[in-house]
């Protein structure tokens, strides 16, 4: 068992860190303040090859492993949680399911431009009445000749409106099960601009405010039959498997946010003087920092282990759930402590830790709340 990174991963981290510091950090505060999607940064990330890191080269990607991708989301999130989730939702929730379940034609048509970053991707499962209880979803897809007709509403969709390609889950069949009628879902690839597909309200959020979160509306939206992704009726399992990967991305985002806040706190306590000395000279500060660093180090090990599991195992639900649960709760705790160490300044929007604390909160909620992660983990223990 080796906990050190090899040279190529070290070099990749150098790249991501340099990019984050140079291109992303200067815009982080403004992105939060204005709630404007950082389109220019996305264009730069496209040029830098960040939009298809774990996708094979033959499909327009970089041909790297999940660990490299995770390190990219981590380094971006250290300076800007918004930028981290744009890459994560695009890669884990849109590129990955097309790579896993798509036909060769679908991969050529949709995955190649996504992995090259020419197009942006999104994933839509959640509905107003169906969050953790995804089975409660109402959006329907009905076969009509050579087309599928979609009707329904999706909500809280990351990269909404900004994305060009959407993975949409809809009910296609109802079968009689032992406990009565059961919904069967299917997944579809829907392009922005398809008649009948429109965007509803933009969410006003607590954190990751530059990330575009929209409602998607389907009104007799007709898509070609070829846009069915994977097997009809198997959509629910596909969504869950996709979210296993997505959770590793969000765990990496949480990891980055926590690490970013820890660094801000270290820098601040060395500068800030009270009672004639820097507050870093007080044992309370030192012990707080020690606890924060230990937690983030543990989170990093768990996130990297989950990335390794995705690379080497067919099923990695538990590793992903554990990594997300731990990293998200660590990020929330560490950002909160970072604000506390900043005192009154930490409560102002002048200092990055205020934004980081708001950004951290979402990592405990989206792509499966911490409670869902506990269900996944305990379910595996008790089966």
């Amino acid at each position: 068992m080796d906990f050190t990174l090899d040279k190529k991963h070290e070099m990749a981290r150098t790249l991501f860190k340099e990019f984050a510091e140079t291109e992303v950090k200067p815009l982080a505060q403004e992105t939060d303040e204005t709630e404007v999607f950082p389109r220019e940064t996305v264009t730069k990330m496209q040029k830098a090859g960040f939009m298809g890191i774990p996708i094979p080269k033959e499909y327009g990607g970089q041909g790297c492993d999940p660990l490299t991708y995770v390190m990219c989301v981590e380094e971006l999130s250290k300076v800007c949680g918004t930028t981290g989730v744009i890459v994560s939702a695009h890669t884990s929730l849109c590129c990955d399911p097309i790579l896993t379940y798509g036909t060769e034609e679908q991969k050529q048509k949709f995955l190649v431009p996504l992995a090259k970053g020419e197009k942006l991707g999104a994933f839509a499962l959640t509905e107003p009445g169906a969050g953790t209880d995804a089975q409660g979803a109402q959006t329907k897809a009905v076969e009509d000749g050579d087309e599928w007709v979609l009707n329904g509403t999706k909500c809280f969709i990351t990269n909404g409106k900004e994305a060009d390609i959407y993975i949409i889950f809809a009910v296609t069949d109802i079968i009689e099960g032992k406990r009565g009628p059961q919904k069967r879902f299917s997944a579809f690839i829907v392009e922005k601009g398809t008649p009948g597909f429109s965007f509803g309200t933009k969410e006003k959020k607590m954190g990751i405010r530059g990330s575009a979160t929209y409602e998607l509306i389907f009104e007799d939206c007709r898509i070609p039959k070829d846009n069915l992704l994977g097997t009809r009726g198997k959509g629910f399992g596909m969504a869950m498997h996709t979210l296993d990967g997505g959770r590793i991305g969000i765990a990496a985002q949480a990891l980055g946010i926590g690490e970013g806040a820890l660094q801000c706190a270290i820098d601040f306590v060395k500068e800030r003087k009270q009672f004639g000395r820097p507050i870093s000279a007080f044992q309370n500060t030192q012990f707080q920092l020690a606890d924060m660093a230990t937690r983030m180090q543990a989170a990093q090990f768990m996130v990297y282990r989950a990335a390794e599991a995705k690379a080497t195992q067919k099923v990695y639900s538990v590793e992903a759930a554990e990594a997300k649960l731990f990293a998200a709760e660590a990020a929330m705790a560490v950002t909160t402590k970072a604000v506390q160490l900043h005192g009154g300044y930490g409560y102002t929007r002048e200092y990055d830790v205020e934004r980081m604390m708001r950004d951290a909160k979402i990592t405990e909620i989206y792509e499966g709340t911490s409670e869902v992660q506990r269900m996944v983990i305990s379910g595996a223990l008790l089966k």
Binding site: K7, K8, M11, L15, A48, G49, G61, G63, C64, C72
Partner: protein
């Protein structure tokens, strides 16, 4: 079209500078980066390759410690096809003369149409190695390149010159020294990093792989430059900002100058 870009691993000035007892830099102890002028030279070569990827080959070449392998991997992660590392204990401590003699000998082992070097390295700031290599190899040299255009076996270079510029045309093969202002170098790509370690190769040459090279012209012993003393730059104080009207400012400054016995 074969382009060789000579690059150097230099101390990252953000990381502090350390010296050996003989006054040369202790390179092993410092954080390093690719010299900025060299990086611009590499970018220029990669842009030529971008325009004709199947017919242009870019080789990055460096002389240094074994750990200079890192800077070649970085060049390959940006898009260079190959790397060449010239490293040998007997080559250590070289000044510009010994360095250019050694690199020229390395270049004699390679086919090239165009050689690009940086104008100067941020550690030595001599701007001598590039032109010296050209002299050793009998090539035309165009220094201080701000813009490079290639056509029909000729290169046209916009050369920076104090308050104006020169437009110079030379027949290939030739050597160009590049300015950091030439362009904005690209980032490495994640896939490029994987290729640099998994697919591409660095050729390593020691003293014995280099032909037509006199032992009198290599290493510290073959270096006519003798360093009397070297030290890190003394850091200036933080300075003082005074907000006064012009007359008061003049009085204030005169007072300070008198106080320090400057006048």
């Amino acid at each position: 079209m074969k382009i060789v870009v000579c690059i150097k691993q230099v101390p990252d000035t953000a990381g502090g500078v350390q010296f050996n007892p003989d006054g040369t830099l202790n390179r092993a102890a410092m954080l390093t980066i690719m010299n900025p002028d060299d990086k611009a030279g590499l970018e220029a070569a990669l842009r030529i390759k971008d325009a004709d990827p199947d017919n242009v080959e870019v080789t990055a070449l460096t002389m240094g410690l074994p750990k200079a392998d890192d800077v070649l991997r970085e060049a390959m992660a940006m898009g260079a096809d190959k790397g060449v590392l010239i490293t040998d204990r007997v080559l250590g401590g070289a000044d510009t003369w010994a360095t250019s003699s050694t690199i020229a000998a390395g270049l004699r082992n390679i086919d090239y149409d165009l050689i690009i070097t940086g104008r100067q390295a941020i550690d030595g700031d001599t701007a001598q190695v590039g032109p010296q290599i050209a002299e050793h190899l009998g090539l035309p040299v165009i220094s201080y390149a701000e813009d490079i255009k290639l056509e029909d076996g000729y290169v046209t270079v916009k050369r920076q010159y104090e308050d104006r510029y020169h437009m110079l045309k030379a027949k290939l093969p030739c050597l160009i020294t590049a300015l950091a202002e030439l362009n904005e170098p690209r980032y490495m790509s994640p896939g490029g990093i994987f290729d640099a370690y998994d697919e591409k190769e660095v050729t390593v040459w020691g003293r014995n792989d280099l032909k037509d090279l006199d032992d009198a012209n290599i290493g510290l012993a073959g270096s006519p430059t003798k360093i009397a003393k070297a030290s890190d730059k003394v850091r200036k104080g933080a300075g003082e900002t005074v907000n006064l009207d012009p007359k008061e400012s003049v009085d204030y400054i005169m007072g300070k100058l008198l106080e320090k016995h400057v006048i």
